[in-house]
């Protein structure tokens, strides 16, 4: 089961209702054979932009992040179920990338003068294989008995 991150914005509501909503959300995950690894509460705060959902305009939200393990097929189901939930303003699912291999910093190579940069050298090589449109002159002895371009 791949790991997903579920970023949810819940509408402003009293604590009891919020608790019920959170249990409803987690039961939806459990019913599809998923596991919750972690629930992060990022607090209640004003949203950077107003959002309308289910016929209401929201300006504040409870921010929650669920870290879950669930089957790939059930993600669409979950999204559909949460989209019908009136307490959820916005929901986003991201796949977690656990094995982030940190490549060494390439800033030193990028700061070199253009002639020493690998990508520029490649570009020059490609440029050598192309026709230079600025210096190219049509040869009249090409076998055509007419000039093919506009004069």
């Amino acid at each position: 089961m791949p790991a997903y991150e579920l970023a949810l914005l819940l509408r402003a509501m009293p604590k009891g209702e919020l608790k019920k909503t959170l249990t409803r959300i987690s039961h939806a995950i459990f019913n599809r054979g998923g596991i919750i690894r972690n629930i992060e509460n990022l607090g209640f705060r004003a949203m950077p932009y107003k959002t309308s959902s289910h016929g209401l305009v929201h300006r504040e939200a409870n921010y929650y992040v669920f870290k879950i393990d669930t089957a790939t097929q059930s993600v669409a189901d979950l999204k559909e179920e949460y989209s019908r939930d009136v307490d959820i303003i916005r929901q986003r699912v991201f796949k977690m990338n656990e094995n982030m291999q940190s490549s060494p910093c390439t800033l030193a190579e990028e700061l070199l003068p253009p002639a020493y940069r690998e990508e520029v050298q490649k570009m020059v090589e490609v440029g050598k294989t192309q026709v230079n449109r600025f210096t190219y002159k049509f040869k009249y002895n090409s076998g055509l008995d007419y000039y093919p371009f506009q004069k």
């Binding site: 970023a7 800033l107 030193a108 990028e110």
Partner: protein
């Protein structure tokens, strides 16, 4: 006559000298005399330290939940993401930062068209007025 004699003598001396040197050379090569004052092989002490971008140096992986860090790569006037020539990040980190900012904006963590006013006085990681490469603005 005396001149010629001396010339021949000198010539002979020169050739013998050369012969002596040629015979000495291989023998002198074999037993190397240990000398405390001889030059030693060391790494170039004047070699500059390899420059790294700030995220690689501090080993930070940008994350959309850390919107305070991401907002430092955003213009306070227009909310647009600063380019690589201003942020001074390497290519991989810059693309990561841009992707995470998009995610954060889409999730409602970060505004699109301005910078969160509580983060306006955060320390500056770079100076937008002095880009690494010049731009046309």
């Amino acid at each position: 006559m005396a001149l010629l004699k001396s010339f021949i003598l000198r010539n002979v001396f020169l050739t013998t000298h050369r012969a002596i040197v040629s015979t000495i050379r291989p023998s002198s090569n074999a037993p190397l005399v240990e000398d405390d004052d001889a030059p030693v092989d060391i790494e170039n002490p004047f070699k500059k330290e390899k420059v790294q971008c700030i995220l690689c140096k501090l080993n930070i992986v940008p994350d959309y939940k850390n919107y305070r860090l991401l907002s430092q790569f955003q213009s306070p006037y227009t909310g647009r993401i600063y380019g690589r020539h201003i942020t001074g990040l390497c290519k991989t980190k810059q693309t990561l930062v841009e992707a995470e900012i998009r995610k954060a904006q889409n999730c409602g963590y970060m505004p699109y068209y301005y910078k969160d006013k509580t983060f306006l006085k955060d320390p500056k990681l770079f100076d937008p007025e002095n880009p690494i490469r010049s731009h046309r603005f």
